[in-house]
Symmetry: C2
Subunit: 340 residues, 2 copies
């Protein structure tokens, strides 16, 4: 079971306001995306909307579709394809989450029972496939072969990253490079594609398309690194939600890689016992947090995350000032400052 | 464990010859498809080609890509897209098999250990996703939005059919109609799409496209019905391979639906115990075969299958005689006469 910690109101409202500009700017489009999400979950087989709705109703930030809408906006796109593409991006993400929970055998996601815990792994695999297929049908509506190519490629890279993660799982010898490759694939590839397609449908020049791709890629890497340290309670003692999941599952993330490399042989033995053999007792998570702090592993992960967010911010330089650029810059701040 | 029964040589060679015309006709194209299959399984993550190769090397008839090639042929298609599309069709099929084996928790497929039995469910789910994404990338190469729409739609229908099957699984009250809906979706939709796209890329008139769709759909339904009765040893006492899998898994197929409806209350009790409660003892499979024969359930399933194959054959009437038409007619014969 995850430890759910209520955040202070101050912290919560600060975070909300960081995404507020983006949400306000895209509110009308996002309402259309939400309607399209509901319409495309429909099926004559009742289990499909039930199961998909469970995950989609649980919320989440809808960050990826917002990125597609804002990227189309910063490129002055005047057509309608961004709506179905933003929906497709959210469906790819949702399908990935459904399959992830089966792969990780997770019981909780966003503070609720996972779909696989309620309906079983079989349904989660198949409804994930259904949403993935619906995502492609939505993409087809954009009538752009290049967009289809970009998103199909991103989907293959995500799956590739997830398989690579299986092979690094529970292996404390994982190098930082392999780890960064895994998160570039499994998390950042969809962020990058979600942003890039905004420029593609607006038929903007290559350098703007590349800029949005770089923005999304670096934002995605930072986003995952922040996830990684929040799972150990954040470097500045802010408390994240669902602390300790990665540790319990033996996931090898950047904080652990840093602390392992800097630890003495007794400490390395501790990481091997807890994360490789998954032989854990009650005090182990606290001791893990202590080791991470002693070796500055959380704050160093935070520093790396900031490096990627600065690259993301700089990528936006090719665009003139304006509300969409401001909103995308705010997302960068949100990514590092969030506490969940 | 499946019972593997060696077929007599005569029966084997008869069956081979039924598909031989098709294979000969498409041999050059099929060699290119096989190369593209190998190329597109490649990944920097070694587990992906290992796992995908395990299933693809196990063979199978490559019936679906052959249908795409022959459908393009009967439409006098002169381009190159049929190669990548036939490959995409095989990848969608392979991805579906990988996920099916996870959903059914199967240990054997095509007489070999299933991928999930060797590498675990996690890898099978993710490599299935990878192949599915690669299928879409291959489709994009066809440069035809309509083809993408047809195949994305077929994929969603397959997943929908599989979810519907979960809800009919182990339920002896399943009606024949619901069952036919399930197999139209989970099996026949891909056959139909595989054939239809041959006409689409050749830019043939609507009635030819519809004819190939109908050919594939009815062939696919017949194909699944034949699978269903072969799993009980075939109505004419020919022995199929892997007899008894459906019974052991409690699958409700047409032979069972017919025998259940015609059975007395004691017999219905038997089906409920063995297929709903999965409470089976050693003699139960033989008794199931006996009941199916007493109620002519296998021969009646065979009659239904022949009905669908006749519809499939009639659909080809819009095309003039020629080697491709002959080969597609042979496939119809193969489907009903095969013993595995």
């Amino acid at each position: 079971m995850a430890v759910v910690v209520k955040l202070s109101n101050t912290s919560d409202s600060n975070e909300l306001s960081a995404l507020d500009a983006l949400r306000d700017l895209c509110a009308k489009d996002m309402a259309r995306v939400n309607k399209l999400i509901i319409d495309n979950m429909e099926s004559k087989v009742p289990l499909i909307p039930q199961l998909a709705g469970h995950l989609i109703a649980a919320g989440g930030k809808r960050l990826r579709p917002l990125l597609t809408l804002a990227s189309a906006g910063i490129c002055n796109y005047r057509g309608q394809s961004h709506i179905s593409l933003a929906t497709a991006v959210e469906f790819i993400h949702t399908a990935t989450l459904l399959h992830d929970d089966v792969v990780d055998d997770s019981d909780l996601r966003r503070g609720r029972d996972t779909a696989n815990a309620v309906w079983g792994n079989q349904s989660s695999v198949l409804v994930g496939d259904f949403l993935f297929s619906r995502a492609f049908r939505l993409m087809v509506q954009s009538d752009s072969i290049r967009v289809l190519d970009i998103l199909a490629n991103a989907s293959a890279i995500i799956a590739e990253g997830e398989v690579a993660q299986l092979t690094t799982a529970n292996n404390t010898d994982t190098e930082e490079d392999s780890y960064l490759n895994v998160i570039s694939s499994k998390t950042a590839a969809l962020f990058a594609a979600a942003c890039q397609i905004g420029a593609v449908i607006a038929e903007r020049p290559n350098h703007e398309e590349a800029a949005l791709y770089q923005y999304g890629l670096n934002l995605g890497i930072a986003f995952q690194l922040v996830d990684d340290y929040l799972d150990y309670g954040a470097p500045d003692n802010r408390l994240g939600k669902d602390v300790g999941d990665d540790f319990r599952e033996g996931k090898i993330t950047l904080p652990v890689i840093i602390a392992f490399r800097r630890g003495n042989s007794k400490e390395q033995e501790f990481w091997r016992r807890t994360l490789e053999s998954l032989n854990q007792n009650e005090d182990d998570f606290n001791y893990a947090q202590k080791l991470l702090n002693e070796h500055s592993a959380l704050s160093e992960t935070q520093v790396r995350a900031r490096g990627y967010t600065e690259t993301a911010r700089a990528a936006l330089n090719v665009f003139p000032q304006g509300p969409h650029k401001k909103a995308l810059e705010d997302v960068v701040d949100f990514c590092v400052d969030r506490s969940h």
